[in-house]
Structures are given as C-alpha cells and as structure tokens.
Amino acid sequence: MSDRKPTHGTYAVLAVPVTMLVVFFLVPFGIMVASSFYHRVEGGFYTPAFELNSWRRLFTEVFIERAVFSIGISLLAGAVCIAVAFPFTFFLTRMKRRPHVALLVVVMSALSLSEVIVGFTWSVLLGRAAGISNILVWLGVMDEARAYQPGFVAVLLGLCYIAFPYCVLTLYPSLSRLDREVTEAAQTMGASPWRTFWTVVVPISRPIIVAGFLLVFVFTLGSYLISAILGRPEHWTLSVFISDQASFNANVPFAAAMAIFLTVLSLAVVGVVTVVESRTRRLT
C-alpha cells in the first residue's frame, strides 16, 4: 500500500518522530564524537578543545588487550550459543504442542530476565554459599564447597545465558518453516536421521546460522552487567570499561573514543548480517 503520494500533512506527521530521533539520538551521538576530542581536566570535567590524546590511548596495550578480550569472548559465546541453540531449536520445532509451547515459554521467560538478575542468579549458583558445590557437598560428592566465580568460565556461562533465548528466536522462524519433504526425502533414500541432520539440515541453514552467530556476537559485545558481576577486572568487556571511564574515572573523552570504536565494530557486523540475510532472501 506504499503507493500514495505524500502531502504537506504527511511530512508534518513524519516530522515529529524524526525530530525526536535526531534531537535525542543523532545530536547526542554528535556531541559524543566531538567530546572524544575534548581536553580532559583532572577531577571529572572536560573542556572543548581539539586533541588526539583520547584517540591515542586506543592504541595503547591496555586498550588493545581489552578490545581483543571483548571480541574474543563474544565470538566464543556466539559459537557456544549456536552449537547448543541450533540442535535445540531444530528438535523444538519438531515437538508436539504441549512440550513445544512449554519450552517456548521457558525460553521467553529467560529472555525477559534482567541481565542484573541473570548475573546475580549465576553468582549464587557458582558461589560458595548456596550454589552447585554446596549441593554436591550435601550429596556427599565433594568434600568442601568452592567458588567458581568470579572467573572466565562464569562470564562465558552468563553471556551464553542472556544470549541463548535471542539465538533460539532467530533460528526458530526459518527452522519451523524448513520443508519437511526435504528431510523426509533424505530419509526415504536411506540416510539416517543423524546423517540427514548433518548433510541436509545444517547446510540448508548455513545463512541463518551465520546470522544467529553474529547476532549473539553483537549482543554480548554490548553486555555490561554479566562481566561486571561474574568477572574480575581482567574479564571486563568494552562496555564495562567505557561506562567505568565515563562514571567512576570521570574521563568522558576517552570513554567517547572507545564508544566510537565499539560503534564502528558493531556497525560492521550488522552490515555483514544484512548482506547475508538479503542474499538468503534472494535464494528462497
């Protein structure tokens, strides 16, 4: 129905949301870009200037280490999530009504949990006071309770937990629409279900696997609370580093420079996803 010619009234209606988005998103973004060149004054202030100090700090070892760690753990979370979510979603779409809907409700409930609550529940579960190790001690499997957080594995588990529902929801539409005749044909010709899964289902779904993987990557790259709660400072992601600089260290120019780096990185990944998806749409 997008064939009507716009009138003056149409533009007036359109002006309201566009103005809101420009004033409260593009303008703040512009100010942020500008403030990355500002001069930092000790004690939490900054004055307009044109300096490259904050940008130069992006090339220091500390920052590069942070960025590489952030990108690495997000890639790892993406890989783990896809490896579990793909078979899970595939089986889910083949289930009968009751378990099907019930599992979706569990997934959606996990999705709607706040990151702070996910972080908190995992810190309890992996902690020494009332967690897995206490259950094992109680059962007599272990001698003494241990804490598994803060640590790398704890952060990775937390990231996978918050990203997993999103990953399932990305895979769900296309897996539920996967033509059953294709898998049935493979099995009629003598392929085992296992072989069908690997040689038919996975290759057909390659584009959506890539899209899901990159979605988890961008999503976990932006996560803040998981690594702040479950990790030590060396496990902090870029988001924690940025907001830490902007609030407690009061170095807004450096925070802004890092935020722009993160924006470029995310936009690049989103661009790849868009290209992959439009290519899939052309194929189907």
Binding site: M1, S2, R4, K5, P6, T10, V13, L14, V16, P17, M20, L21, V22, F24, F25, L26, V27, P28, I31, V84, F88, F91, K96, R97, V101, L104, V105, V106, V107, M108, S109, S112, L113, S114, V116, I117, G119, F120, T121, S123, V124, A130, Y161, F164, Y172, P173, S176, R177, V218, G222, Y224, L225, I229, I242, S243, S247, A255, A259, L262, T263
Partner: protein, 269 residues
C-alpha cells in the same frame, strides 16, 4: 538421534531453569545470609520489598520510567511506521534505519550519548532524561511490530473507506488505527519489559540521583547480599513466565515468534 534429542533438550532446560530454582530456594531462606541447605522457611523478604522504603521507591521509579518510556517509544514509532509504509517517501529506507539504529548498537553508546547531551544541556540527573533515553532506545520494538502490521494489512480496507467518501484523516482514525492497536500494544509491552530490566542507560544518564530497580539490585550485590534481592528476582521471573504463558494460552505465541502456522498440526499428526 532420539537420545541426542532428549539429552540436548534436557540439558538446555536444566541450564535455563537451574539458576531460577536456586534463587527461589534462597529467597525463602529464613536466615539473613545465604546458605544451603536453607534454614527454615520464611516469606519475610517478599514482605520487605513493600515495607522497605528503598525497595519500594526503586520499584515505583522503575514502573514510572518503564510505563512512560514505552509510551514515548510507541509515540515515536506509530507515525514513523505508518507514514513510511503508507506513503511513497524517497528517504524511506534511511528513515527506517534511523529508527532501528539506536537498538542495533550496544546500549552503552546510547547511554554515553545521552549522558554528554544532558550535561551539555545543563539538565543532568533528572528522571525525564531516563524516560526519553529509554523511549528512543526501545522505539525500535514498536517500530518493528507496527511496520509488520502495516505490511500485512489488507489494502482494500482503507481503500473501501475512501471510496465510501471518508477523507484520509477519517480513514486513519476509523480504519487503520484500530487495526494497528494490537501491534501497538505488543510493541508497548516489549518496550515496557525491556525498560524495566535496563541498567546501563539508566545508570549513565541519571544513576546517582534516579535509582531504578536494576540499579538498586546491582548496588545491593556490590555492597553485600540480602535475600530481598533474591525475592525481587523471583517476582520478576514469575511475572515474565505468567505473561508469556497467558500469551501462549490466549494469544498466538507461535505465530508471534514467526513459526509456520501449520507446524503444530503436522507435529501432532
């Protein structure tokens, strides 16, 4: 393959549900400190959510921010989705991208942008800043639900109204808008739930003066454990599960998630 099916599903279910169970047990522990197995059963931590002034004000702040922020989001998304889908606008893809962009980028970007913006405007630390920031960030969700509704709407309906003599404004008010209401409600609900859970934007924009529930919980974790945190978590989990179960029973959860409509008939057969 059958074994694989049940192990994958079972282990994933344990992974998703285990932390929720542990937190539920901790929340009814009578002892002030966490321990396992729990000592005695008590619901006083739930009661404390309401009687403790700090927790009550955080809950009310969060509800205010989420309800008004979601309202701003729908107010931005509705005209944008309607005009971009109903009219031939040259910059249409670009304007749609502008509506999607805030949510596509990591939230810390919007958070820092809003922080420097309100500092520059000399209006830092107010609750309305958080409401606007959430409204902008989450406007993507109603934008997507309303745009989808516009795309699937039968073009014959508004056309018929116009043939019968209604002007564009009357057509919009009596035909298009009522048809868009369900998608506006879905978009509002999604924005509301995510705003209620959002931490980093609320924290960087006004975290030291406006304390929302996630900020209060995070401070609570930092400065020592209280079972109240566990009871907040349980309340959140119960609300989420109830909403989605009702959705599954009364609405069409599967269709909403993009499933093939015939999927269940085939699986049940």
């Amino acid at each position: 393959m059958r074994t694989l099916k049940w192990t994958t599903t079972g282990l994933t279910l344990v992974f998703l549900v285990a932390p929720l169970l542990v937190i539920a047990i901790v929340s009814v522990n009578e002892n002030r400190y966490m321990d396992f197995p729990p000592q005695g059963l008590s619901f006083e931590w739930y009661w404390a959510l309401w009687t403790d002034l700090g927790w009550r004000s955080a809950i009310l702040t969060s509800l205010t921010v989420a309800s008004l922020g979601a309202l701003v989001a729908v107010a931005i998304a509705t005209p944008l989705a309607y005009v971009l889908r109903a009219y031939r606008i040259r910059l249409s893809p670009l304007l749609y991208a502008l509506g999607i962009l805030p949510f596509m980028l990591p939230p810390v970007i919007s958070a820092l942008g809003a922080q420097v913006f309100w500092n520059a405007a000399d209006h830092a630390g107010r609750i309305e800043n958080v409401i606007i920031a959430h409204g902008i960030f989450f406007s993507t969700l109603p934008l997507i639900t309303i745009s989808l509704a516009m795309e699937t709407m039968d073009p014959a309906l508004p056309e018929a109204a116009q043939t019968l003599g209604a002007n564009p404004r009357t057509t919009f008010r009596t035909i298009t808008l009522p048809l868009l209401v369900p998608s506006m409600i879905t978009g509002y609900a999604a924005a509301f739930v995510l705003s209620l859970n959002e931490y980093i934007i609320a924290f960087l924009v006004a975290g030291f003066s406006v304390q929302t529930l996630p900020i209060k919980i995070f401070n609570g974790i930092r400065y020592g454990f209280t079972p109240t945190i566990a009871s907040v978590a349980v309340v959140f989990i119960v609300i989420a599960a109830t909403v989605f179960s009702l959705f599954a029973v009364f609405g069409n959860l599967l269709r909403f998630l993009g499933a093939d409509p015939a999927i269940l008939e085939r699986n049940d057969a």
